[in-house]
Subunit: 362 residues, 2 copies
DNA sequence: GTGAAAGCGCTAACAA
DNA sequence: TTGTTAGCGCTTTCAC
């Protein structure tokens, strides 16, 4: 392994000069620079990142805590975060907590501040206390997808207005003429402990408020999804549709359960969207690729990732070493979610059509 | 930030002793150990990973190069690799090259050896020369999903017998009684340059060999998938089915295109598996969750990840610092892939049934 | 059992 | 413009 020293020796200068050349600091003569660069190339020198981190007192990576890389939303977010991090000169260490609090804590303990300069968190699976602790220890932490802009978490964060997202979904169904619908509320929070941040609370409330505000419109039933997965949505939808066969549309607080609801409908002989409309939230890639394509409320993932990295950088610059005095807990809000109508929603059948539809079922 | 020194001062010992206590090296008196541990807890000391890495001459992370985290296979593999890495005491830095050679090279240049002790590579998107270069520079590299056990890449690797996978898919179709089928061959290799490692070559060959060996059986057409995605499979399947409406089954060299093929069939009014059987390779999670569930050849992802990490560790231990003399390029082979029949495959209709089926199409 | 000292590879004042 | 000198926080011989 080639070191700075070796390069310096080769070029007939001191390590300091080599360092200066490599990072464009301080003034260096053109001739020397030339010689140094040559030596670098010749020896195939590559700076030792750990050494540099130690000397600089900063690390070249960010840590991204995700609760479960199995949920396709996270890879998508990760991708965006990684891009953003790289433009900021950082690598991204993906810390998969696998929904396990202990694992998350371990990552935080070990990585934060020593291997990573800052921590990005996509979910509140981790108890806030741990996050606050690391923040107070001097490692900036940014929450990436806070769901309630109206209710800051007391930690720097990027918020997305998920209540609005829910409202948009409601409006979409209303616009199509649906008056009797069901809701599938995802809730995978292991650590709910009645905390103010029940995972999908805002998404639910937004939908319920808007939908209920309309004349004649009624949410016939709300079912909880055991898990925020296709399977979870499938099971919940089946139960809901069995209990309330008269609903003409289903709202799910996330795309995966919405996809599951479509499968459930298919298995029950209902055609989507003719017999049943389905709408979700997020607009993960699968939503575009499902059959029929899922109508959903798109959430600005890319933007959120970018903003989160930006915010993290600001926090780092702001608190160079010692962050005495509360540095504040800034909150950024992304642009609004937007409804993306696709093939899984349509006006409800008229009574006439419904009869026909029933006949078609075996 | 608390340092070893501070802890030492607090406990009334020297840093060396603290270090010894923390890593269970050297003999330390029970009483001192007690005091040290106490001080550690009291001060909330956490070792500085970068400093440790520098002092030890080794890093606490592995790098995982993936070509595209957007393809759900990679997150699944990543998950497995991360688990394996953690049991080995390493963090996993996920390096998403986004199918870009330059990005990949940049990661390799910067991370390998200085921030990561070893490199795991899931694809040959990176030119082998770069990988060999880093390996020769002293940072172990392991290829994770080499597709041809019979043709080692000249780099340490974990191989999966994808030729057999293809053969199993063929056998499955044969067993069901299909005699006229089509093949969708994925090929996303940007850097094909006629290299011996055409991305899905083995998967194709295995299928073709086995299927063609059967009497009366014929592969009516092979179409290339432009991209290894649902979309890619959709397009290719449409073209194939238009040109050859008589095939009773489709084989795709990967699950995503297979899923796309199912969508194409649906859009063309064909019912799967009644009018058309579809089989893929890999068994990603989506395969289980699609409607109908996809019949596919499951590949031992978890096992491959585990073996790759094990192999990496061995290489690291074997070549403590200077790896003079070819350390060899070991290859491990996972257990065999296995056919997982699900709902997307069935015996072809008899002529009689086919007629009925045609009638049902609008 | 515990301490002293050197050094991992690099950066960052400050001198020259 | 370049060199000198200290470290960054930790590990690791080797004495004591």
């Amino acid at each position: 392994m080639t070191t700075l020293n070796e390069v310096a020796a080769r070029a007939g200068v001191t390590p300091a000069t080599v360092s200066n050349v490599l990072r464009n600091r301080g003034r260096v003569g053109a001739a020397t620079r030339e010689r140094v660069l040559h030596a670098v190339k010749e020896l195939g020198y590559r700076p030792h990142l750990a050494a540099r981190a130690l000397a600089e007192g900063r690390a070249p990576t960010f840590a991204l805590m995700v609760s479960s890389i199995a949920n396709p939303f996270y890879p998508e977010f990760t991708l965006a975060a990684e891009r953003a991090a790289r433009t900021s000169g950082h690598f991204l260490i993906v810390c998969n907590t696998n929904d396990d609090q202990e694992t998350g804590r371990a990552y935080l303990e070990q990585i934060a501040g020593t291997l990573s300069e800052g921590v990005l968190v996509t979910n509140a699976e981790l108890v806030f206390d741990d996050l606050r602790a690391t923040a107070e220890r001097g490692t900036p932490v940014v929450l990436c997808m806070w769901e309630r802009p109206d209710d800051p978490p007391g930690l720097p964060c990027v918020a997305v207005d998920f209540r609005l997202a829910g409202a948009l979904a409601a409006q979409h169904l209303l616009d199509l003429g649906h008056t009797r619908v069901g809701a599938l509320v995802g809730s995978r929070s292991t650590h709910d402990d009645g905390a103010p941040f029940g995972i999908h609370g805002a998404r639910r409330d937004g939908f319920v408020e808007r939908f209920s505000a309309a004349d004649d419109a009624q949410i016939v039933a709300e079912f909880i999804c055991e898990s925020d997965t296709i399977r979870g949505g499938y099971d919940a939808a089946r139960r809901l549709l069995k209990a309330h066969p008269d609903v003409t549309a289903l709202y799910a607080t996330n795309d995966l359960p919405a996809l599951g609801a479509m499968h459930a409908a298919a298995d029950m002989g209902l055609s989507v969207p003719d017999d049943l409309s389905v709408v979700g939230i997020t607009d993960i890639q699968l939503a575009r690729e499902s059959r029929p394509a899922l109508s959903t409320v798109a959430v600005p993932t890319e933007e959120a990732a970018r903003m989160a990295v930006d915010l993290l950088r600001e926090l780092i610059d702001r608190a160079p070493r010692a962050s005495r005095g509360n540095p504040g807990t800034p909150m950024r809000v992304t642009s609004a979610p937007v409804m993306v109508p696709r093939a899984s929603t349509a006006p409800p059948r008229t009574r006439d059509q419904r009869t026909r539809s029933s006949l078609r079922k075996r």
